[in-house]
């Protein structure tokens, strides 16, 4: 029942249902998720279209982060995690036996709520994924990838003279953009962002938002946010989660102005959450 609700509410979703294997497409089908016996996601069916920004909103604890982390199998790291249903990336079931989790995580990059650079230099942070995945031919090539990634994250001009300096000496907003650069360096198709700006001041937040809109040209982005204005500013479509259920997905404009569900309306008008 919830599964077809979102497709009626969202024109973009309807168009997306036609092709299952467009690159950069994420799809979940009847996804249930449990921590031990505690069910956190209920029958979530959702589709993300190539080169769009999908915002996930909903009250705290409704399962947004959990949902996001099922898309690159970060939840595998939680021993009690169990799930049912399918998650397709580019048409491939990522929970099917034999799926290469490391390759999946390279393809589906992630930016966390708390910026988490390694305690290495700026350069080494960006080069980390390049090194472990052997993406560079030689040092020269690696330096190029580092530069390209830092440019893409809008950080190059600020750090080009101090690439060898410790990453943790950067400001909070710079650290978060460094984490974005680090994620971009392994050339993902999809970027998952879990409240990437929630710890930042308004100016740093604005930079991250601009960056997200820029990155949309090349990447598909799923972003969790508690900031409804932020969702409205940057996303093409928005999904509203409530207590582990996907209540509604729609074009952001529509969802914020004419939500289908009463619960969505209550949430966006601030009646709960």
């Amino acid at each position: 029942m919830l599964g077809n609700l979102h497709s009626t509410a969202a024109p973009l979703t309807a168009s997306a249902t036609t092709s299952a294997s467009v690159p950069g497409v994420v799809e979940t089908r009847h996804l249930d998720f449990f921590y031990g016996n505690h069910q956190v996601l209920f029958d979530v069916s959702l589709r993300v279209v190539q080169h769009e920004i999908l915002a996930l909103i909903g009250p705290s604890g409704c399962g947004k982060s959990t949902f996001l982390r099922t898309l690159n199998r970060m939840n595998d790291l939680v021993p009690s995690a169990r799930w049912q249903g399918e998650v397709l990336i580019d048409g491939q079931d990522i929970y099917a036996p034999g799926c290469d989790v490391m390759a999946l995580r390279r393809k589906v990059g992630m930016v966390f709520q708390r910026s988490n650079p390694f305690p290495f230099s700026i350069e080494e942070n960006v080069a980390y994924g390049v090194k472990i995945n052997h993406l560079a031919r030689d040092r020269q090539h690696r330096a190029e990838i580092v530069e390209r990634s830092l440019r893409a994250a809008g950080l190059w001009e600020e750090v080009k003279d101090r690439l060898r300096h410790p990453a943790l000496a950067l400001s909070g907003g710079q650290q978060q953009r460094l984490c974005i650069a680090r994620a971009l360096a392994v050339e993902p198709e999809i970027l998952l962002m879990d409240e990437p700006a929630s710890a930042l001041d308004p100016i740093a937040t604005a930079r991250i938002e601009e960056l997200a809109i820029e990155l949309k040209q090349r990447y598909t982005i799923v972003i969790v946010t508690h900031n409804l204005q932020q969702a409205a500013r940057i996303s093409d479509r928005t999904s509203f989660f409530l207590m582990g259920k996907l209540m509604e997905t729609g074009a952001t404009q529509t969802l914020f102005t004419k939500p289908v569900r009463k619960e969505t309306e209550d949430y966006i008008t601030g009646r709960f959450g």
């Binding site: 970060m74 490391m102 995580r105 992630m110 988490n116 390694f118 305690p119 994924g129 994620a183």
Partner: protein, 321 residues
């Protein structure tokens, strides 16, 4: 009630500022106590320096490089002991460091949870065994095994390496180094494990999210992030090994000579003092033993200062961070 409240208020106000008189006494007493360790350290150094005057005048710096140790003719050189201390410590650390860091990685990252606490506890227990017990075990178990099996085997298979040439004695540098390794490994494990466990989960997640395997997360993120604690553990262990007396004295062989072979018996700074001080006759003999004490004191202080320096530099790099 309001009176008591206001009285409380005043008391608190006063507590903030030191009152002249008794508070000043308190202040200076504490400061004195804080400086006491420094005073003791300096006092110790000065005493050793003074009491070794006779030896220092007789032999000068040559004391450190001379190999003769001849109480009968009054020739004293500390080189065999210095050599023995450095060599046995070297063997101990070379074995204990990788073993300890490996164990720490295993305990912090790989071992099943039910195994971590008991194994960690057993490793800690190694540090609680009195060193004389290690000495006994060395004499009755380790030395015979080295002499009959391990040293002949090493001699056969690594005959090109000078360290492994010569007759297998059992007691000697190798035996002492091995005992030291066992004795200091808990310090390496303890500090390394603590440091590795303290690597924040969000940093590991970052590494996993970039496509790292578990092994890559350990090797390229967790261990490098924990490096200051790991070095701290290794240096602490080195300090321990340098000064360890009882177990080494029981197993080193007590021969004041220098040998390139690990199988040969030798002597260390700490052992020669422990063994010979009570029987030393003659001012120069005693003075020479005291100078050996001075050398040992200087080495351990320097190693500890170095470790501090290194740790604080890494800590500062992390904090600048």
């Amino acid at each position: 009630m309001s009176a008591s409240a206001s009285r409380l208020g005043t008391a608190r106000e006063e507590g903030r500022r030191p009152r002249p008189g008794s508070d000043a006494v308190f202040h200076w007493t504490l400061r004195g106590l804080a400086l006491a360790p420094l005073a003791i350290l300096i006092g110790l150094g000065v005493q050793l320096f003074r009491a070794s005057a006779a030896s220092r005048h007789a032999f000068g710096w040559g004391f450190l490089t001379q190999s003769a140790w001849d109480p009968v003719f009054g020739h004293f050189g500390a080189w065999p002991f210095l050599f023995g201390t450095l060599l046995t410590t070297g063997v101990g650390v070379v074995i204990a460091a990788p073993l300890g860091v490996g164990t720490a990685v295993f305990l912090a990252e790989l071992a099943p949870f039910w195994l971590r606490a008991p194994v960690g506890y057993l490793v800690e227990l190694l540090a609680a065994v009195p060193s004389v017990v290690y000495g006994l075990w060395g004499i009755f178990v380790l030395a015979p095994w080295l002499q009959q099996s391990a040293e002949p085997w090493l001699g056969d298979h690594f005959s090109g390496v000078p360290l492994f040439q010569g007759a297998p004695y059992g007691v000697g540098y190798l035996a002492a180094g091995l005992i030291l390794a066992v004795m200091i490994v808990p310090f390496v494990v303890g500090l390394s494990r603590q440091a590795i466990s303290a690597v924040p989960a969000h940093q590991r997640e970052a590494a996993y999210a970039l496509g790292s395997t578990r092994w890559e997360v350990i090797r390229r993120v967790a261990v490098p992030t924990a490096r200051s604690g790991i070095w701290g553990g290794i240096l602490l262990a080195t300090g321990r090994a340098l000064g360890e007396t009882m177990a080494v004295t029981m197993i080193i062989g007590n021969r004041p000579a220098v040998s390139a072979s690990l199988f040969a018996p030798g002597y260390t700074l700490a052992s020669v003092i422990a063994n010979e001080f009570t029987e030393a006759t003659g001012a120069l003999y005693i003075s020479s033993l005291i100078e050996i004490g001075l050398v040992l004191f200087a080495i351990t202080v320097v190693v500890n200062l170095l470790s501090r320096l290194l740790l604080s530099r890494i800590a500062r790099a992390g904090a600048a961070a």
